[in-house]
């Protein structure tokens, strides 16, 4: 199975109803960037979410604790086979995004994923600009099929 990590195209604009662009945010599938060492920074608790079809377990570790409001932060993302515990690699593309389902909007920026030496992926630049209930979406695409793992995050005063 070929595996490439596409820079993520989080089409997540505030008030993403009418007026939101839907074309310009689709970035082309770039070649996998050079890997970087995993961050030695402070890490928050690892959050987990099983994908809807049970194909993979998404583990998201914030590189900050706690997750701040309206400040950019990074995460490490690992995909794991829930049965074997081994890294899950059976996909063509993976993406991460954050949205507020009650408000029907997401972040105001796109987030890319960078492979790390330990097999995880690092996403920098996530920014949750409001207090409240956010959902982290980790989507994979394999061929024509999509599957999502979803993790709840609540930013409180």
């Amino acid at each position: 199975m070929s595996r490439s990590i596409l820079p993520l195209l989080a089409l997540a604009a505030l008030g993403c109803g009418p007026g939101e662009p839907d074309a310009g945010s689709t970035s082309s599938g770039a070649a996998a960037p050079a890997t970087h060492p995993a961050s030695p920074e402070v890490r928050g608790d690892t959050l987990e979410g099983l994908s809807s079809g049970g194909a993979f377990l998404a583990r998201v570790t914030p590189l900050v604790d706690p997750i701040p409001m309206n400040e950019a932060f990074g995460v490490l993302l690992s995909l794991v086979d829930p049965d074997s515990g081994e890294p899950f690699v059976d996909y063509d593309e993976v993406s991460i995004d954050a949205r507020m389902p009650a408000h029907k909007h997401g972040m105001l920026r796109d987030v890319g994923l960078t492979p790390q030496d330990d097999g995880s992926m690092r996403a920098d630049g996530l920014l949750l600009h409001m207090y409240g209930h956010w959902e982290l979406h980790v989507d994979i695409r394999k061929g024509a099929l999509f599957e999502r793992a979803q993790i709840s995050v609540r930013l409180q005063y």
């Binding site: 989080a10 939101e20 839907d22 074309a23 999509f146």
Partner: protein, 664 residues
């Protein structure tokens, strides 16, 4: 839909002789031609010595077959148009695009025949200017020049491209293949240094694209939205006055954009949303097509939902003057679209214009919307143009078909039937899906969806494809396992529209709506095909009864079909042995109980209640099918109140064995 837009004309009618000096603009209301059976395209051109005759393509209705009507028109305010001829009668089945050359040849695209016809100006037999080999599912068309220098461009939303034909050649240059999704209209425009370029509107991306004649991408502009310069479902383009005029269909207006050095900048806009049923005289309701006369004095707007063409002239000033009494801008409100599904205490409706699925709870005094699912976008979990939905597992499992993204999405609805009725903006959680074009390995235009054995390991999902007029079959894992299509005996499906499961004894079957059927030009052609669980065609029915069926549903031995051309609901009954007979129906055009305007989605609830989405009237109606009486009306328009007052709705109750939704 309440996209109330900013500009109206003031004054609404201006004598054309007053426009003799200084800047002027198009958009002053002149007159309305009514009683046209669903006019879908318009063009100006020479006919019978009139240099600027108005040609109007009509989709037809139960009594009048599709044709091209020709009118003499005047720039004098209030002066009616006069019919002077007809083209294409007995030849056309579903015209969608229309253009007239300088020498009077009439070019018509037909989406059922998948053809571009040329009707010679001398009245000779029509000839195919392009056909099946080059056009997938054609839409708008434009023509310029003549002879070897003639250029014809056809928007082909089925292929996601446009086709340019030169000098009578049947081999086109493909335009915009990787950029266009659902191009609806196309026109030639003046480019720099005397060149000719092509402008195309895309109804899925809400953008205008400009290409050179070699297919090179020159520029694109605009995006989805209600505000000035933004577009919502643009359906036609025309070039005049050095500007690209756009039929901004779902914003109920016309916008004119600059070309040249400031290409893409908004020059002006006109039109206000018609709120009252039938409101006109400059107020617009889903303007689908536009045309500008060769002398630039007249602009015609075709509005198929209101069976009319409105004519506009010129007025002084570079742009219209705003009418402050109607100067409001807003996003669209719920407008019930082509599909409805129900399960347990809940129903799901589609609102293509707001790019959402609405979930309604039936436990209140009337259906109450409790959630809007998803928002506009291209990522997984967003919808561009939702067109069909399927609800099952007591309202816990939702399927959505998105034609703009060519995607099927499965979502979990965290309904809580044991708790009090309440709104929940976080009701839906998207789980997985399939890119239908990638799965098919070709262009795919999805439409309806239905499921057999939902929740079972043998669950089968069926999705219609307009590109091939067939049905894609998916297994529980959304893997493709086959297709359904017409066979040699029945002939191909032509204009696939809807799906529904049905019961045949202890077995399940699939009903497929064929809106075009085999009736041939000028005769009612709609029909229903019934396929067995193994995919074999069992029978067809409805021929001679159905004109343009739009939706189908079934419960026990009853089958109900909406007909868009007759504004009726037809009832069929399964007889012993499996045969199906027509046993009546009800409806007709109107606003009263049991009357419709372009009825679309239909669903029979488990308890027998029959829900009809009355698309053109912006409402849903719920009937007791045994007595054909209205028991509820729902929707946001005030004129629905009389329906509600006449209703005898009994709220649904939670069954004792029904548990809270935990999802699967």
């Amino acid at each position: 839909m309440l996209a109330l837009l900013a500009l109206a004309l003031s004054p609404s009618t201006v004598p054309q002789e007053a426009i003799d000096t200084g800047p002027s603009h198009l958009g002053a209301y002149l007159s309305t031609t009514t009683g046209l059976p669903r006019p879908v395209a318009a063009a100006f051109g020479p006919s019978q010595g009139k240099p600027n005759a108005l040609f109007v393509a009509t989709r037809g209705d139960a009594a009048r077959p599709p044709t091209i009507q020709v009118f003499e028109v005047s720039a004098d305010p209030g002066r009616p148009t006069t019919g002077i001829g007809e083209v294409g009668a007995g030849r056309l089945e579903r015209p969608v695009g229309l253009a007239v050359s300088d020498d009077g040849d009439v070019f018509v695209t037909d989406e059922l025949q998948r053809m571009l016809w040329r009707f010679p100006s001398d009245g000779g037999d029509p000839v195919a200017a392009a056909g099946l080999a080059t056009l997938t599912l054609p839409a708008g068309v434009d023509v310029t020049g003549s002879g070897e220098a003639q250029l014809i461009v056809v928007a082909d939303p089925g292929a996601g491209s446009a086709k340019l034909f030169r000098g009578g050649s049947l081999t086109p240059t493909v335009i915009g293949e990787a950029l266009l999704v659902r191009p609806r209209g196309a026109c030639f425009i003046d480019g720099p240094d005397g060149t000719v370029q092509i402008a195309i509107c895309d109804g899925a991306t809400h953008r205008i694209h400009v290409f050179d004649l070699d297919g090179g991408d020159v520029v694109s502009f605009s995006q989805l939205g209600p505000h000035p310069s933004l577009l919502s479902g643009p359906s036609d383009v025309e070039f005049a006055d050095g500007k690209i005029f756009v039929a901004d269909r779902e914003n109920h207006r016309v916008q004119a954009f600059d070309t040249g050095a400031t290409i893409g900048e908004l020059a002006y806009r006109f039109g206000v949303h018609a709120i009252r049923p039938g409101e006109g005289e400059g107020a617009l309701h889903y303007p689908a097509a536009l045309a500008v006369s060769g002398d630039g004095l007249l602009l015609a707007l075709a509005e198929p939902m209101d069976d009319r063409v409105q004519l506009f002239g010129r007025a002084p000033g570079a742009e219209p003057v705003e009418d402050p009494s109607r100067a409001a801008i807003g996003p669209p409100a719920a407008h019930f679209g082509p599909s409805i599904s129900g399960s347990g205490l809940y129903i799901a409706t589609v609102s293509p214009e707001s790019h959402q699925i609405q979930i309604h709870d039936l436990r209140g005094k009337e259906p109450a919307k409790i959630s809007d699912v998803a928002s506009y976008g291209t990522r997984f979990g967003m919808y561009r143009t939702p067109c069909a939905t399927w609800l099952s597992s007591g309202g816990r499992s939702l399927l959505t078909v998105d034609e703009g993204n060519a995607r099927l999405t499965r979502s979990l609805l965290r309904v809580q039937p044991q708790r009090p009725l309440n709104a929940d903006p976080e009701l839906a959680q998207h789980q997985d899906g399939v890119d239908l074009a990638a799965a098919a390995g070709r262009s795919f235009w999805p439409g309806a969806v239905t499921v057999l054995a939902p929740g079972d390991k043998n669950e089968l999902t069926f999705i219609t494809d307009r590109v091939t007029d067939s049905v894609l079959m998916l297994d529980r894992n959304l893997e493709t396992i086959g297709t359904l299509a017409g066979d040699e005996e029945s002939g191909p499906i032509r204009g696939i529209a809807d799906l529904s499961p049905a019961a045949l004894g202890t077995a399940s079957t699939i009903l497929v709506v064929d809106s075009g059927g085999q009736g041939g030009p000028g005769s009612p052609g709609g029909r229903i095909l019934e396929f067995g669980p193994a995919g074999g065609l069992l029978r067809t029915f409805g021929e001679g009864v159905l004109v343009e069926p739009g939706g189908v549903t079934s419960r026990e031995n009853q089958i109900w079909v909406t007909d868009r051309a007759t504004d009726r609901v037809e009832r069929f009954e399964r007889k012993p042995g499996g045969a199906v007979e027509h046993t009546g129906g009800f409806g007709g055009r109107g606003l009263g109980p049991g009357q419709f305007h372009d009825p679309r989605g239909i669903h029979a609830m488990d308890d027998g209640r029959l829900i009809v989405l009355d698309h053109g009237n912006h409402r849903g109606q719920i009937f007791d099918p045994d007595h054909l009486t209205l028991i509820a009306g729902f929707g946001g328009r005030l004129y629905i109140e009389p329906l509600k007052s006449a209703a005898t709705w009994v709220p649904l109750q939670l069954k004792r064995d029904q548990t809270e939704g935990e999802g699967r």
